[in-house]
Amino acid sequence: MNNDYDVIIVGSGITGGWAAKEFCERGFNTLVIERGRNVDHRGPEYKDFQAPWDLQNRGMPEETLAENGHYATLRKKGHLYKTDALHFFVDDKKHPYSSPEDKPFMWTRGYQLGGRSLTWGRQVLRWSPMDFEANAKDGHGIEWPIGYEDLAPWYSYVEKFIGVSANKDGLKTLPDGEFQTPWEMSYAEQYISNNIAKKYTDRHLIIGRAANLTSPTEEQTALGRGKCLARSYCRRGCSFGAYFSSQSATLPAAHKTGNLTVITDSIVERIDYDDVNNKVSGVSVIDANTKERRQYKSRAVFMCASALGTVQVMLNSTSKTFPNGIANSSGMLGHYILGHVTGVVASADVPVSEDKYAFGRRPIATYIPNYRHEKQDDANFVRGFGFQTTAQNRSFSSPNAKEKGIGIIAKQSVGKPGPWRFRAFMYGEVLPYYENVASLHPTQKDEWGMPLLHIDAEIKDNERKMIKQAAKDIQEILEVGGCTNIQVKATPENKHIPMGKQVHEMGGACMGKNPDSSVLNGWGQTHDIPNLFVTDGACMASSATQNPSLTYMAITARAADYAAKLLKNNII
């Protein structure tokens, strides 16, 4: 096997797939290295055609898994710990990481071809100009070297390819893009949205923006992708290719060029560095099964191994020039670990007058975008929060085994239509904190000999203040929305809120203008080494409140275009 390539891409998830597509379509001999196993698109690991009664153990993972300490992180998340897609999530007993006892971090991972793009939430939201300007404006974190205008054409480029079903809402805080037919709001959601619009100019309840096809283009159809049929079993893998993933879209597009090689079960241990020429020369990998080591060479390396995965590999890539991790002359590698925080959950009845119902399982929620970018009179914090919300189906009385009652009477109460119930989950921005840091554990290693990643990160006073305000705000929003029986639960100040719970971990190799205070420039290129790029979540200098994957993809496509020009001109 020839181990020399133009470009090596570490990771096959949402950004690795994009990098592969872009380089392959530009004619570069490209290698994608995935640490997990191969998964065949539409293969037997996809469980999307299993009804609830067909699922292994009716959806319940074997009890011995919990008894023996498997899937500790996933078990804490609850709703993901089911047999429908458990195999697409990492068991942290087999792949451990560490965090301080008083600051447990929740790291949700997917080690398989396609990575977490198989199980992601598919909410694709552009950042606004204000989001990119926030660091410079309030002085937290490192100033972004790029702005919305730099990324806007790449947002469009990505949206056209992946397929985004959304409404053009015309909001300054959430720019519109290239959209397919939006999903419709339920009767109850529309009722609240209309009421909110009567009162506020800055707060909006909109339909979510989903990477699920509603009007497939010729390009999407040619890749074997079809229209979403509202099953909402996306995290099991979609045999119709209706939602975007590396498996359904970018990797097939890359394969078509004939320029793609994919290897799985290969753990990148380190990025190899040529001290003499100040270039990376490739990567060293450990075979996940045999534990044999081998090397691959390339003219450029793109790190797309997920924010923390990338940081782990870079920290482990030491050399004479970079004794504390590759491209880490600034000492910033591992710092500014970011994320989102949910500290408020609210629910309320929607007292609509007409007897209406919903049908189907819409694959996306509704959304209240961040309306607090500009500091307002009642705010004692910076940045802001939005709400992920839903009332997509009318409630039906369900059997409650946790309460008294059996027999005919208990049974007859089941399945009766009840009120529409609206639910809202706060999504707040965690500020960039230098002291939120990921490092290599000084002594503990995994079974392949890689030092464990130690993640020491927490939310602080600004986020706690946000939570208090979010609780007040959602109470008011639901009242204005016409809701009754409003219940708002805010996490008490003395209760720990683990970072990582919302999955959107970012940072650790942030972009910035100054090589002394950041790892990457505005192209995702390391300041120190011109042929090493990082375009996954590690590159983010702040987290905003929007789900981040669309921004990762746009950054990756833009960086690949830039790197391709450098490669063609033999600059790298």
Partner: protein, 217 residues
């Protein structure tokens, strides 16, 4: 004779008594069988439903199993089958018997349950029988349907009102599992569609009924 979906079970109607026979080959599998027998040894009352007088069987409206199931033995399975039927009876909609809840539970005790749960449920059934004997001075399985139903309803009430201790914890878990199995079954979800075909959020009852009839948007 009626063949039920799961070909492990052959259902024979004998008057008002149903007798279900399990394939013998499933009874001797692995260590689980050994564990189960160990715990059976701790039971204070092991009731053999098969020794009930045949005339009595006819009046009890009781489904009696004469062979062991996969995890439960014949007596335990007769008891489980009866309790789930009382918890979720057949009405104008299917009940737990129709959804084969007892049979699914029996399979789950092997494929899902840890040893601790296997022990917990085995001891729960034993304690259940003991409590019935204390209450009625008779074997639960020899009680009339009315009395069995009253007894299970009382257990449910006491457990949720004031119950503490191992028996109450086990009952709550048992009940939760029974409800989960039945209400996640195909027969209990006639309006579940694996492929809805799309989403509509504002339908009248009539429009919804038409879609249900069509089974696709």
């Amino acid at each position: 004779m009626i063949l039920i979906d799961n070909d492990c079970f052959w259902l024979v109607f004998i008057g008002s008594i149903n007798v279900i026979t399990f394939p013998e080959s499933k009874q001797e599998e692995g260590n689980v069988e050994i564990n189960r027998r160990i715990f059976l040894g701790s039971m204070l009352y092991v009731v053999s439903a098969s020794v009930l007088p045949s005339e009595l069987k006819k009046t009890l409206n009781l489904t009696v199993f004469e062979s062991d199931a996969v995890f439960f033995d014949a007596e335990q399975f007769t008891l489980v089958y009866d309790i789930v039927d009382i918890m979720i009876p057949r009405t104008d909609t299917p009940g737990a018997v129709d959804s084969h809840t007892a049979q699914v539970l029996d399979e789950l005790m092997i494929s899902w349950a840890a040893t601790s749960t296997q022990q917990q449920f085995t001891l729960f059934l034993s304690e259940f029988l003991q409590r019935a004997r204390t209450a009625f001075n008779a074997n639960y399985l020899s009680l009339s349907k009315e009395n069995r139903q009253t007894f299970v309803e009382q257990i449910d009430e006491v457990v949720f009102d004031t119950g503490k201790g191992d028996f109450s914890i086990a009952y709550k878990r048992f009940k939760a599992l029974i409800f989960h199995i039945h209400y996640s079954s195909e027969i209990a979800n006639p309006n579940f569609f694996l492929v809805p075909g799309g989403y509509r959020g504002s339908l009248s009852q009539d429009e919804l009924n038409v879609i249900y009839e069509r089974k696709y948007l």
